[in-house]
């Protein structure tokens, strides 16, 4: 890895790059799934390649390849410089980068049980056991379960002199129960939708989440949904389960704080942001009990956004985003930090693979825990709905108007959870919604959720992000919006 990376770096600089960095990545994945009593996908993959990112003539260029021969690595490094020179045909000013020190370091993510050492047969046995428990419940028409293991071995070299080797292990696990009857399909997922729960750790995650133990309850809820009452339309107080709060954070805080969106560089695809620069330190984003951080450090937890250094060689940091409800921070890169005169990048540049440039991505954007207990939130709600596990999600391209649906809900009347509700949905405007938050559950109910497939960029790339969240209550929210009209 190092020889090719060094060769590419040297060639890029020799060809005229004023800045260059090289990432060599070896990405391995094992994906195992079952469906209705039989294995469905059993596959392994490896992807190994090199990407060279340069500034030449004051503009960016990038070239990548998986043909790691000496001659081709030279060619690709030279091509990156040629691409940058083409970019310079349409520039207004030279790229500026906020300063960074060189780093020489090696880091491995915490991993108690290497998932790649767990026998495939044992993994399939577990999934089939889950499957069996789900399908014991009458009315279930489809049971799907999956395990997803990734190992990302990455070397980063830069013309600053940085030399950073990071090894990350990620694990994902979950199952979905589906029931069809009449004219209706209902689904229940555990521990979360989007494939389950994902973290940057090993197989110990799978052991902790007890897939088999939760299978009967989830399957029973799935079938019960077919006979449940439809979520009413109107205005209610809502309490969201922790994983749904996590997705709410992702869509209505995590994305709008990406400084590249704010500055307009994602306008053609992912969109822009309502968080214009004048709103920093002045916008009351949320109620004063809301505190949000973007924290990539190991101390925050083994989230999908945890690492030691980002893909520009900037150390992982904890950046306050919302403090006592006030908007105080963005996710930034070396270039965007320089553009808005921040002293330093907040270290959030991340690339999906060797063939993609890093972009500003969420790390672990988390709602800090409060002090409430879920039981107390319910007991203190007169007329509300408790909603759990995301089913649909949508927001406009500046991140104002959102609508979410969850798999299941329960009506709350006079402090008690009463009837089950199907097809719950709610919607609103981002800042109005977050300002209606009046209670957040405590550390005991806080989980660092993982969203494995956040999409951004052209060409598209996906990234895992982490979101720590506990259940929370929001007052007077429009519900049933997806089915009204």
């Amino acid at each position: 890895m190092r020889d090719f990376a060094k060769q590419a770096l040297d060639t890029a600089v020799a060809r005229g790059a004023s800045y260059a960095d090289v990432r060599v990545m070896d990405i391995r994945q094992r994906y195992l799934s079952t469906k209705n009593g039989a294995p469905a996908q059993v596959r392994e993959s490896q992807s190994y390649g090199l990407g060279v990112r340069v500034v030449a003539d004051g503009a960016w260029g990038f070239a990548s390849t998986d043909d790691l021969s000496r001659s081709n690595v030279d060619r690709v490094a030279a091509e990156a410089v040629a691409v940058a020179r083409a970019s310079a045909l349409c520039k207004k000013e030279d790229v500026q980068l906020a300063p960074e020190e060189k780093v020489i370091d090696r880091w491995e993510s915490p991993c108690a049980i290497d998932p790649f050492t767990v026998p495939v047969a044992a993994c399939l046995d577990l999934l089939l056991k889950v499957d069996g428990e789900v399908r014991k419940v009458q009315g279930i028409t489809l049971a799907e379960a999956a395990l997803d293991f990734r190992r990302i071995d990455q070397l980063f070299l830069s013309s600053l002199g940085s030399d950073i080797h990071q090894l990350k292990t990620q694990t994902g696990a979950g199952f979905v129960a589906t029931a069809f009857a009449g004219h209706e399909i209902q689904r229940r997922s555990y521990p979360n939708s989007f494939g389950g729960q994902y973290q940057t750790r090993g197989y110990e995650l799978v052991e902790e989440i007890d897939l088999v133990g939760n299978a009967p309850r989830i399957a029973e809820e799935c079938v019960a949904l077919l006979k449940a009452e439809q979520c009413p339309s109107g205005v209610k107080d809502i309490i969201l389960g922790g994983s749904q709060v996590g997705l709410q954070i992702h869509e209505s805080i995590g994305h709008p704080i990406e400084l590249d969106r704010v500055l307009g560089t994602e306008a053609n695809f992912a969109g822009m942001s309502f968080l214009t620069l004048d709103k920093l330190n002045s916008l009351q984003y949320a109620s004063d009990i809301v505190n949000v951080v973007a924290d990539a450090t190991v101390e925050h937890g083994p989230g999908l956004g945890t690492f030691a250094y980002d893909d520009e060689g900037v150390p992982a940091q904890s950046t306050p985003i919302i403090k006592d409800g006030l908007f105080v921070g963005y996710l930034s890169s070396r270039e965007t930090a320089a553009q808005v005169k921040l002293p330093r990048s907040s270290g959030t540049m991340r690339a999906e693979g060797w063939n993609r440039i890093p972009l500003i991505r969420m790390t672990n954007v988390s709602l800090l825990p409060g002090s409430a207990k879920l039981a107390d939130l319910i007991a203190s709600t007169d007329d509300g709905i408790y909603m759990e596990t995301n089913r649909s999600w949508s927001i406009d391209d500046r991140r104002y108007n959102f609508q979410f649906g969850t798999e299941i809900g329960w009506e709350i009347k006079n402090g008690k959870k009463t009837r089950m509700l199907k097809n719950p949905s709610y919607g609103g405007i981002t800042t109005e919604f977050w300002n209606s938050c009046d209670a957040i559950c405590g550390r005991d109910e806080w989980v660092l959720w993982g969203t494995p497939n956040c999409g951004k960029g052209q060409p598209m790339q996906t990234m895992g992000t982490g979101h720590g969240a506990s259940p929370a209550r929001f007052r007077q929210v429009k519900v049933g919006v997806a089915y009204s009209g």
């Binding site: 469906k35 294995p39 996908q41 059993v42 596959r43 392994e44 993959s45 490896q46 992807s47 390649g49 503009a59 260029g61 990038f62 070239a63 990548s64 390849t65 998986d66 091509e79 990156a80 040629a82 691409v83 083409a86 970019s87 045909l89 349409c90 520039k91 207004k92 026998p119 399939l124 028409t141 489809l142 799907e144 589906t178 069809f180 004219h183 399909i185 689904r187 307009g264 560089t265 306008a267 053609n268 695809f269 063939n355 649909s392 949508s394 406009d396 391209d397 500046r398 104002y400 108007n401 609508q403 649906g405 097809n423 949905s425 919607g427 405007i429 052209q458 919006v481 997806a482 009209g485």
Partner: protein
């Protein structure tokens, strides 16, 4: 580099050396066979060379080039199958991937539904490769982008978008003698023009970059931005709405996974219990047709079966499904060549959609509308209800109010909650179908549509 300045193309020798020819793909498969001890062996070998110039704020801010190969090996042993992939072509890596596929296959219980791999097939030829497009370099793309930026600056707008080009090869071989090979070029120009209070968008893709017409697209997006300035707020409600082709594509793209035979068999499709039923309007005719001249992709599926033309919806009736070999065998149907790589849990889906249209251009649709909206594109569309097929999403980049047959002014964007099934029963007019690209689904050949009673459920602030 002087060579790219001179010709505007990447050096042909460079492309020739790196491109995965049929002969080279065959050599790679021979290596796989050499190391595989499975009862049956299949390899999907893909290669791509792709570059993309990205611009925003009237500058090129990202510019990327990539090339890569993948060898994906499936092993079958005693009615068991699994897959392993690598992007390394050296002897040791090929040996390892063949061995890995076999080891994984052996770890599973036998699958009684697993069929023998198909033997040699005959494919209809489709010509989707243009060598100039394959060799297009960053220099001429930058010059084209500069012109689009010039168009923006003429009206004090800001341009953002992409200009990309590339080539791809898809090859599939198996130990029963099946040999499938397809090469294709791609190009795309997409542009968003931003004004102080509005925006417009246009996008096109083509196998030949000379068909993209970037200046026309830039001008169209600019005019949309200018004409929708200072958008007014219209109350939510059910409206007559004219959807330009990209908006139709991004909406209807959510329907087609439901036309897979396995999805219906497993009761996870909105067509469960409804195949053969008149679900849509009489004027709705949709087929899957990879051979349509405006279509793309290989003429074979991911088992190497030739793709068939399938009429999915005929005069509003959901008449036919598509079937991979295994699903067809399971349910007693005829395979149609739409399978995904095995093993998989999805089964199959139509990927080459052609929607029959009419003769009414968008201008005619506008002229025929007393009160309604004209929508350029839809965004962040997600499924709310899998059986009623209710989708939610937003309008974006050019939404206009129509009154008495004229586009009057721009309006603030809406959220919609709309069932596709109901929508396709409310189509009043259809435009001529055209090759269309959106953002939420794959390219299709679709018309503009005028739809009554489209549910716009809330507004946003811009």
């Amino acid at each position: 580099m002087e060579e790219s300045k001179a010709a505007g193309h990447r050096p042909a020798l460079q492309l020739t050396q790196s491109m995965l020819t049929r002969q080279r793909a065959d050599e790679v498969f021979k290596k796989v066979l050499k190391w595989s001890t499975a009862d049956e062996t299949e390899a999907i070998i893909t290669w791509n060379s792709y570059s993309l110039t990205r611009f925003a704020n009237n500058v090129i801010h990202q510019n990327v080039v990539e090339d890569g190969v993948q060898v994906s090996v499936r092993a079958v042993v005693d009615q068991r199958t699994a897959r392993a992939s690598t992007n390394k072509l050296d002897e040791e890596s090929i040996r390892e991937v063949a061995e890995r596929a076999l080891i994984l296959a052996r770890l599973q219980p036998p699958d009684p539904d697993l069929l023998r791999m198909p033997g040699p097939q005959t494919y209809r030829s489709v010509d989707r490769f243009d060598s100039k497009t394959a060799e297009l370099s960053p220099q001429p793309r930058a010059e084209t982008v500069r012109k689009a930026i010039g168009r923006a600056e003429k009206d004090s707008l800001t341009a953002a978008g992409v200009y990309s080009s590339g080539a791809a090869v898809y090859a599939l071989f198996n130990s029963r003698g099946l040999r499938a090979y397809h090469e294709e070029t791609v190009s795309e120009f997409s542009v968003t023009m931003l004004g102080a209070s509005s925006s417009g968008w246009a996008k096109k893709t083509a196998h030949n970059f000379e068909e993209l017409e970037p200046e026309t697209l830039a001008d169209r997006a600019a005019r949309k931005a200018l004409e929708s300035h200072d958008p007014r707020e219209i109350p939510p409600g059910k409206y007559t709405i004219i959807l330009e082709p990209a908006a139709v594509l991004d909406m209807l793209g959510f329907l087609f996974m439901d036309f897979g035979g396995l999805a219906v068999h497993e009761q996870r499709s909105c067509l469960t219990g409804r195949v053969g039923t008149k679900l849509f309007g009489e004027n709705i005719n949709i087929r899957d047709d990879v051979y349509h001249p405006a279509q793309g992709g290989p003429p074979f599926d991911w088992e190497g079966m030739p793709r068939q033309r399938v009429h999915l919806i005929e005069k509003g009736v959901a008449s036919n499904l598509v079937y991979a070999r295994q699903t067809a065998h399971k349910v007693g149907a005829t395979p149609t060549g739409h399978g995904f790589p095995l093993p998989n849990e999805f089964g199959e889906a139509p990927m080459n959609i052609v929607i029959d249209g009419g003769r009414s251009g968008v201008d005619e649709m506008v002229a025929s509308t007393e009160r309604g909206l004209l929508v350029t594109r839809l965004w962040y569309i997600r499924e709310v209800d899998p059986y009623q097929k209710i989708l939610t999403g937003m309008t974006r980049d050019g939404t206009f109010w129509i009154e008495n047959g004229k586009v009057e002014y721009g309006v603030k964007n809406f959220r919609f909650n709309q069932s596709i099934i109901e929508m396709l029963g409310q189509v009043e007019m259809l435009g001529p179908p055209e090759r269309t690209a959106g953002e939420e689904s794959f390219e299709m050949v679709v018309p503009a549509m005028k739809v009554r009673e489209f549910n716009l459920s809330s507004t946003t602030k811009f």
